[in-house]
Structures are given as structure tokens and as C-alpha cells.
């Protein structure tokens, strides 16, 4: 970052603008994105959050249209509206789009837009990462959507079970579109999850200790932490299946030692928590709205926090309840059956807390409340059928029938749709600055509510009468005709409701009156700002001295606009916000954010080209584009940080703090920690996969026994450990003010040696990776080590370049501390991975003891 002229680094704060308007203009000049094409360079959370939500809404409309096509096809028996192949693509993309392109991104958009505002921050910790996440999402979603128009869309259902999605049964690119497109979107989701986690923990308003955090913050924190742990198994599964399809590594092929059930395990390790990943932010919306309309604080704040923690963990422990019919012993099934039932308890705690809040309050009736009651009705039904499906004997009868389709739509569709629309109407004034017009809103609600229940309620009965899911047509003699016709009529009514809703939104945007500030008389911080929300969010940062969901927002808003909070001034053209102590919320650093840039867009374009190259089997081109992506990331890193030491800088209210470049426990540090948590989950899933194939897959042990080169493997481990040790020397030398170039070069040389050794080990894997899953898993474990050593080299290249630009000093050591952490992780996982490869011969021998 080049230093602007007139660099202000004195102990006195810069002079505050004389009026709220002057402060607004000064901040807007720094935080706003330029007009026209410059909008593509935006990194602002308000802009990007809105883009996420609008894009997700568009995908919802496309997904809804696809759902309508399926209902037209199924409305009558033996319909010729679509052929089977087209139907397979339509319903597969409908499900995938609603889950991956609407559900999760919409919630991320919601979190991106509202979380900083509810927590009293000006932006997230990594604005460029938010922008990169958005572009990845848009491009990944577009690839999947365009594949439908080209007639090569995914056609194996939204959970892509193997062997149906393997080369044997899906030889075209349809499955590749899903695997690559969804993984692309998942990368976007993961980057945002890491960013939101760090921002919630480190970038709240001064004084906002954890007990004062609005309940919205707790829900979103749980959601993003679940994403960090929940998405890697699916990313791993997608990578493994793509490797099977592209290079013939048989992870899921039972004829060569693979197992299709491994896909199911990895998919549902993601898929079941995903239901709660969708539910939790919607519960956040409900927990925020209900107290406002009940006109009293939320009942049971502490109990709800405990319930959120319980829900987040237990939801991971019940993935097998999607696999009750695959032949798992009863005792193991009972763990997951009991877990599936008990997960209702923390959910019920929240529902009773909401009901108690309404019962003890003085509820006001308004449009968002209509949707809230729609939620209660729909979610109660979905929850009840969920408990039914948790019971193994019932599940065996209803599995893969339309009963499950109905349950899924009630839980995921209803639980998300109704709170989302409640929240949309509630926050519309903040998003648009316009007041609500209720003329069309109420009929739209009733059409959606009636249409939804008409469509999906009757599907329970169709399922109980034996209608299997995914079928493209049925005979009149099956007896499901009237139920399907009724469901299709309901779907049309719901669609008309959504049409009215879209018209309603357009009318409000065009003709709505200007909304007064805080129109609902809420007590959360997002209303303490002008409407619509300005790009800088808060003119000055609030000081929170009580729970931040029942604050005197009107008075606070006026004070903040006058610059009476922290950072009520501008300095050096910097985009400034505060970092706080994780638990107490005491300010501990001044965070300077990067300005608008096209770099995230270019990086996402390069990533999209890599994905497309893989899709078209141009693997060398894909590898080259991955190199470009890495180069762009390194280039971006050169434009972060400060070129000199500042000591402390005044932040207002008599307080001075060091910039984030000169302290420990900064957002970049924590972001790497959480990235490694996600990475570690992926690694643990790979280890699980190895053991799973060992114990459960057919055709084990292989005819050719594994025989790894022990000396080479031990040498690789040693090199990784030495590299981690030498990186410590670099850090010590930097802290001592000495040159660290030699140790940096030595670390790079060691990592390159480790890469070479692992490549030799992969080349010597027996049985050959393409012939048996044992060889394939060995190669995957070693490939994991190679990749991490390679990324370590990129860290070192970035370190060298940044050191050359003067971005490091004895006080500014973050770069080398990040590198050290990465290399420590690489060494530990490398030892485990290579150790497991060495242990495989013994593990294979033990299989001979099986009866």
C-alpha cells in the first residue's frame, strides 16, 4: 500500500469534520465505489451482500421455474411434456440450484450484509475475499445454469450418488458440471465462512462483550463455524469423484476396491449439517424480529446460546440417518436414530423461547409477522415428519418415497422461505430506504402459504402410498393421479404468489415513500444509521454498554452521525475500523482495510477458466490457470499492510491503538487458523475414507500388496519437520532485525525437496492407483502432502516479495508467523499422511484375519 501524501501519524486524532454532513461526505469519498464499470471493483460488504442476495434470488426464480416444470410433467400420468433424460436434468438442477445456488448463498448474502451492521463494525476483515467469493459464486452458478441450456446439465439428482454419477452410468460431462461447478461455489462459501467467523470474533463494536452480542451474532457464528467443518467433506468427495471420472482412480468403484457408500458418507457429513446451516440464520432472523414485534426482549437468551451450540454439534453426529437402508448394523443405526430424535430438543428450546417472547410481550401485527406464523405452521409439520423419519422402521418404509420429498420441502423450503421473506420485508427499508406498501404483500403471502401447503402436504400421502421420488412419470393405475394434480395446482398458486411478490417489490422500489429511520422501533445497531445503509455503515463506531439487541437506537444514531463514537474522522484516505478483544470487546487494534480493486474479479475469472479447462479435459491449461490464480493471490498480497511502523494511532475518545500490522492475534492470523480447521477437516475426511475402504469395501485385500519405500518416506517426513524448524529461524531473525533471506531460501529448498520426494513416492505406489482403491488412497494422501508443500513455497515467495517492498519489520512480523503456522500444519499432516501410507501394508495383512 503506497503511503498517501500528508501521512498522519501523530498522537492527536485528526480534526473531526464540523458537521454530520461533512463527516458523511468525507467517509463516502473514501468508502464508496465509483460509478459505471468501477462498480465491478467493489469490495464493500453492503454492495456485495446486496449482490449476493439479488443473485441468489435470481437463482431461486430459475430453480423455482425448474420445479414448476417437474410439476407440469407429474401433473398427469404418462405425460409427454418432457422425456426422461430432460426430466432428470431438470429435477437435478432444481435441487442443486435451490441448495447450492440459492439456499447457502442467500444466507451468506444475509450474513455479509447484516452482520457488520448488527455488530457495529464498518466492514468485514477481508473485503477482497468477500468480492472474490461473490464472483466465484456467480461464475460457478452460471456454469451450472448454462449447462442446462446446452443440454449437458447434471442428471444424477442433487446428491449425485455413485455409481449412478460415475463414468460407467454417466459418461458425458453432466456429472463433471456438478462436481466442478458446485466445488467452485463451495470455495466461495468457505472463504466467506472464514471471513465472517473472524469478523464476528474480532471486529465487533467496542464494548460488545460476548454476553452483549445480539443473538443474531451467535447464530451466524454457529452457522459459519459449521460451514468451515461441514463443507470440506463434500469438497473432498467431489475431488475424489472427479479424479475417478477424469483419471480412473477407483475410490467409489466396487470392482476395484472402492465403495459407492463412501460417497454417501462424505456427502451426508456435509448434507445433514447443511439443513441446520440453513436453519440457523433463519432462526437468527426470527430471534431478531420476534422481540421487535412482541415489544419485549427475547426470552431465554442464555438458553438459546446453549441450544445453538448443541444443535451445531449434534447435527454433525446424525449424518447416517440418510443411510438407514444401506445395511448398517442395528446397533450403529440406533446411535443415529436416537441422535436424530434428540436434535429436536435444542430446536424446541428456541421455538418455545419465541413463543414465550410473544406470550409475554405485546405483539404488533404486521406483514413480517404473517410470514413468521407461516414459518411456525410449516416448520412444526416438517419437524414432526423429521422425528418420524428418525425412527428406523418408519424410515425403511418411507425411504426414497415422496414422503421424504415432502419432508425435505417442509423443513428446508419452509424453514428457510418464510423467515427469509419475513426478514426481507423487515429490512427492506434498510436495503432500499423505502417504506413498505402492503397492498400486494398480504395477498402474495396467502398465495405462497396456501400454494406451498397444497403442493407439499399431499406429497406425504403420495409417498405413503408408494410413489418413489425421482420418477419422471407414472401410470394411472398407480393411484397417485389426484395427489399429483393437486400438488401441481398448488405449485401454480405458489408461483402466482411469487409473481405478486416480485411485482410488490418493484412497486415498493419505484413508488414507496421514503422510510423514516428505525421504522419498526427496533433496538439493534443496523437501525442506528441513515436509510438506505451508507457504504461506510457507521459514521463513527458505537460504544456498547448493554446487550446490543435492545439499544436506544434513535439517540445513538444521531450521536454516531455526529462522530461522537470511535473513529469519527478520516485519516490518510484509509478505510478504518476497530479490532477488539475476542471476549470482552475491548478495542485492541486499528484495522486498515484495502480499497476497491478489480483484483478479486480477475482472480475469480482465472479460477473460472481453470474450472472450465478441467470440464473440457484440458488439464495442462487448467494447471496453468491454477498457477495464474496463485500468482494473482501473491500479487494481491503485495497490496496489503503498511509500509512502515506507526506505533500507536489515536482512534478517538482519548484512546490510541496500534495498527493491525503491528499486533498479534490479528484477523489474518485467525483466518489462517480457521482455514486450517477447514483443511484439517478435509484431511480427516480423507483419513476416514482410507479406513472406511479398508474395513468396508469389497475386493480387499488387493492381489498386489503395498510396498512403500520406507527410507524415502522417512526422509520426506524429516525434510518437512526441518522446513518447519527453519521457518522459525526466519521469524527470529526478522524479530532481531537481521536478514532472513538465507533461511527463507533454505526453507523453500527444503519444501521443493519434499515435493520431489512425495512425487517419487506417488510414482512408486503399489498397487498402481488406477487399478485398486488402495493405491488411489495412497496417492491421494501423498498428493495432499505435495500440495501443501507447494502452497508453502507460494507463502515463501510472497514473503520474499513483501520483504522487498518494505512491508515487514521487527514489529510487522505477521507474514512470517503465518508461514510458520502453515509449515507446522504441513509437517504434522505430512507425518500423519505418510505414516498412514507406511502403515497400509500392516493394515492390509490384518484383513487376512477376518473370518
Amino acid at each position: 500500500m503506497t503511503q498517501p501524501r500528508g501521512d498522519q501519524a501523530g498522537s492527536a486524532p485528526p480534526p473531526a469534520p464540523r458537521s454530520a454532513l461533512q463527516l458523511h461526505r468525507a467517509l463516502t469519498a473514501i468508502w464508496d465505489t465509483g460509478p459505471g464499470i468501477q462498480r465491478l471493483s467493489s469490495v464493500n460488504h453492503t454492495v456485495l451482500g446486496r449482490r449476493f442476495m439479488v443473485t441468489a434470488f435470481v437463482f431461486m426464480l430459475i430453480g423455482g421455474l425448474l420445479g414448476m416444470l417437474t410439476r407440469i410433467q407429474l401433473a398427469t400420468p404418462m405425460s409427454r411434456f418432457m422425456d426422461a433424460e430432460t426430466y432428470n436434468q431438470v429435477f437435478s438442477v432444481h435441487g442443486s440450484m435451490m441448495m447450492f445456488l440459492f439456499g447457502i448463498p442467500m444466507l451468506e448474502g444475509l450474513a455479509v450484509y447484516f452482520t457488520p451492521k448488527l455488530l457495529g463494525a464498518r466492514d468485514f476483515a477481508f473485503p477482497r475475499l468477500t468480492a472474490y467469493g461473490y464472483w466465484c459464486y456467480l461464475f460457478g452458478g452460471s456454469i451450472i445454469t448454462l449447462s442446462l441450456l446446452a443440454g449437458v446439465a447434471p442428471d444424477s439428482g442433487w446428491f449425485m450418488y455413485t455409481p449412478l454419477s460415475s463414468n460407467v452410468f454417466t459418461p458425458g460431462v453432466n456429472a463433471d458440471v456438478w462436481l466442478l461447478g458446485v466445488t467452485f461455489v463451495e470455495i466461495s462459501a468457505l472463504t466467506l465462512a472464514v471471513e465472517i467467523t473472524v469478523s464476528i470474533l474480532k471486529m465487533r463494536a467496542p464494548g460488545m462483550s460476548l454476553d452483549r452480542m445480539p443473538i443474531f451474532g451467535w447464530y451466524i457464528l454457529a452457522m459459519v463455524l459449521m460451514m468451515i467443518v461441514g463443507f470440506p467433506p463434500l469438497i473432498l468427495a467431489s475431488i475424489l469423484l472427479e479424479m475417478e471420472r477424469a483419471f480412473g482412480l477407483p475410490f467409489f468403484d466396487p470392482t476395484r476396491g472402492g465403495d459407492p457408500l463412501l460417497w454417501q458418507h462424505l456427502f451426508w457429513l456435509f448434507g445433514h449439517p447443511d439443513v441446520y446451516i440453513i436453519f440457523l440464520p433463519m432462526a437468527a432472523v426470527l430471534s431478531t424480529l420476534i422481540p421487535v414485534f412482541a415489544q419485549r426482549p427475547l426470552v431465554g437468551y442464555r438458553a438459546i446460546v446453549v441450544a445453538i451450540v448443541a444443535l451445531a454439534f449434534v447435527s454433525f453426529g446424525i449424518w447416517v440417518h440418510h443411510m438407514f437402508t444401506v445395511g448398517i448394523p442395528h446397533l450403529a443405526l440406533a446411535f443415529f436414530s436416537a441422535g436424530s430424535a434428540i436434535v429436536a430438543v435444542p430446536t424446541a428450546i428456541q421455538i418455545f423461547a419465541w413463543l414465550a417472547t410473544l406470550a409475554h410481550g405485546n405483539p404488533r401485527w404486521s406483514l413480517p409477522m404473517l410470514y413468521i406464523f407461516g414459518f411456525f405452521f410449516v416448520f412444526a409439520l416438517g419437524g414432526l415428519t423429521g422425528v418420524m423419519l428418525a425412527i428406523v422402521p418408519f424410515d425403511w418404509q418411507a425411504h426414497d418415497s415422496y414422503f421424504v420429498v415432502a419432508h425435505l420441502h417442509y423443513v428446508v423450503g419452509g424453514a428457510m422461505l418464510f423467515p427469509l421473506l419475513a426478514g426481507m420485508y423487515y429490512w427492506l427499508p434498510l436495503l432500499t430506504g423505502r417504506a413498505m406498501v402492503q397492498r400486494l404483500s398480504v395477498p402474495a403471502f396467502w398465495l405462497i402459504f396456501i400454494g406451498f401447503n397444497l403442493t407439499f402436504l399431499v406429497m406425504h400421502l403420495a409417498g405413503l402410498l408408494g410413489m418413489p421420488r425421482r420418477i419422471w412419470t407414472y401410470a394411472a393405475a398407480d393411484g397417485w393421479t389426484w395427489m399429483n394434480l393437486l400438488a401441481s395446482v398448488g405449485a401454480f398458486i405458489m408461483t402466482i404468489g411469487f409473481g405478486l411478490l416480485v411485482i410488490d417489490l418493484c412497486v415498493q422500489l419505484r413508488y414507496g415513500r421514503r422510510s423514516p429511520r428505525n421504522p419498526w422501533k427496533a433496538g439493534t445497531l443496523e437501525w442506528a444509521m441513515p436509510l438506505p445503509a451508507p457504504c461506510y455503515a457507521f459514521a463513527s463506531l458505537p460504544v456498547v454498554e448493554e446487550r446490543a439487541d435492545w439499544l436506544p437506537v434513535r439517540e445513538l444514531g444521531a450521536k454516531l452521525a455526529r462522530g461522537e463514537g470511535f473513529l469519527g474522522f478520516t485519516r490518510n484516505g484509509w478505510m478504518e475500523t476497530l479490532g477488539v478483544h475476542m471476549t470482552s470487546g475491548a478495542p485492541d487494534q486499528l484495522i486498515i482495510l484495502p480499497r476497491a480493486t478489480y483484483q478479486p474479479l480477475w482472480t475469480a475469472i482465472a479460477t473460472a477458466l481453470a474450472v472450465l479447462a478441467m470440464l473440457f479435459k484440458q488439464y495442462w491449461l487448467a494447471a496453468a490457470m491454477v498457477g495464474v490464480v496463485a500468482a494473482l493471490f501473491i500479487y494481491g498480497a503485495q497490496h496489503a499492510g503498511l509500509p512502515r511502523d506507526y506505533g500507536t494511532l489515536p482512534v478517538g475518545r482519548g484512546l490510541s491503538l496500534p495498527p493491525h500490522t503491528e499486533v498479534q492475534g490479528t484477523p489474518p492470523w485467525w483466518s489462517l487458523v480457521f482455514t486450517l480447521v477447514a483443511d484439517g477437516t478435509l484431511f480427516a475426511s480423507l483419513v476416514f475414507g482410507t479406513f472406511y475402504l479398508w474395513i468396508a469395501a469389497p475386493h480387499w485385500p488387493p492381489q498386489v500388496r503395498p510396498d512403500p519405500n520406507v527410507a524415502l518416506a522417512l526422509a520426506t517426513m524429516a525434510v518437512l519437520v526441518v522446513a518447519a524448524f527453519v521457518s522459525r529461524l526466519s521469524l527470529r531473525r526478522l524479530q532481531a532485525g537481521s536478514s532472513f533471506t538465507p533461511t527463507l531460501a533454505a526453507t523453500a529448498a527444503l519444501l521443493i525437496a519434499a515435493i520431489a520426494l512425495t512425487v517419487v513416492l506417488i510414482g512408486g505406489v503399489v498397487p498402481a492407483p488406477g487399478t485398486h482403491a488402495l493405491g488411489a488412497t495412497s496417492a491421494a494422501l501423498l498428493g495432499y502432502v505435495t500440495t501443501h508443500a507447494g502452497i508453502g513455497v507460494l507463502f515463501l515467495v510472497s514473503n520474499a516479495l513483501r520483504a522487498g517492498r518494505g512491508l515487514m519489520s521487527a514489529r510487522r512480523t505477521m507474514d512470517l508467523r503465518l508461514t510458520r503456522l502453515w509449515l507446522d500444519y504441513t509437517a504434522v499432516t505430512g507425518i500423519i499422511a505418510i505414516g498412514l501410507v507406511l502403515a497400509l501394508p500392516a493394515l492390509v495383512r490384518t484383513l487376512e484375519l477376518r473370518p
Partner: protein
């Protein structure tokens, strides 16, 4: 900013909030894995069952110990309301994890092992 003026709650307490259920998840994973191995290698039913009981008992003991430790160490008054909140929430998650471990992971151990 009264919270900032008192002694802050150590950041590590945030992770303690999830510790109870991390143990719960470990217990589930271990039980599921050992059960699969036991069935695959045809362990005698009693051996498998008592191994599973032992694994669960160890995890429950760890949860109970953490709960008792939390009870014996009331929140530091200098940490203010934040300390009391974290103490309450951590205790709540530990109890919830212990109860759900007994109900979810304990009761199935009465079933036949490898049917």
C-alpha cells in the same frame, strides 16, 4: 465500556463452549468405528459390547469431570457479566453433552451387537 475495564474473559473460554460436544462427537466417531471393526473381525459379542461401554464411560467421565471442574470454579468477579455468562453457557453445554451422550450413545449399547 465496563467490560473492557474489568479483567477480560480469556479467549480460550470461547472454545471451551464447544468442548463438551467435541467430546460427544469423538465418542460417537470412536463407537461407530470400533463397532464397525468389531463386527468386521467377528469379535465375540460380549467383548465388543464391553469395549463400547468402556469407551463411552471414559467419555462420560471426561464430561462429568469438566462439569465438576466448572462447578468448583465459579466465575471471576473481575470478569463481570461476561465471565458469569460464559460460566453459565459452558456449564449448560457440558450438561447437555453429558445427557445426550448417555441417551444417544448409551441406550443403543443394549442392542444386539452385529445384526
Amino acid at each position: 465500556m465496563s467490560a473492557a475495564q474489568s479483567r477480560p474473559v480469556p479467549p480460550g473460554r470461547i472454545w471451551t463452549l464447544g468442548l463438551g460436544f467435541v467430546i460427544w462427537c469423538f465418542a460417537l466417531s470412536l463407537l461407530y468405528g470400533i463397532h464397525a471393526i468389531g463386527c468386521a473381525f467377528a469379535w465375540p459379542s460380549a467383548t465388543l459390547r464391553w469395549t463400547l461401554v468402556l469407551v463411552l464411560a471414559l467419555h462420560c467421565a471426561a464430561l462429568a469431570w469438566l462439569w465438576l471442574r466448572e462447578r468448583r470454579n465459579p466465575p471471576d468477579a473481575a470478569q463481570g457479566a461476561a465471565g458469569a455468562f460464559m460460566h453459565w453457557a459452558i456449564t449448560g453445554t457440558l450438561i447437555a453433552a453429558l445427557v445426550s451422550a448417555v441417551l444417544v450413545l448409551g441406550a443403543p449399547l443394549l442392542l444386539q451387537t452385529c445384526v
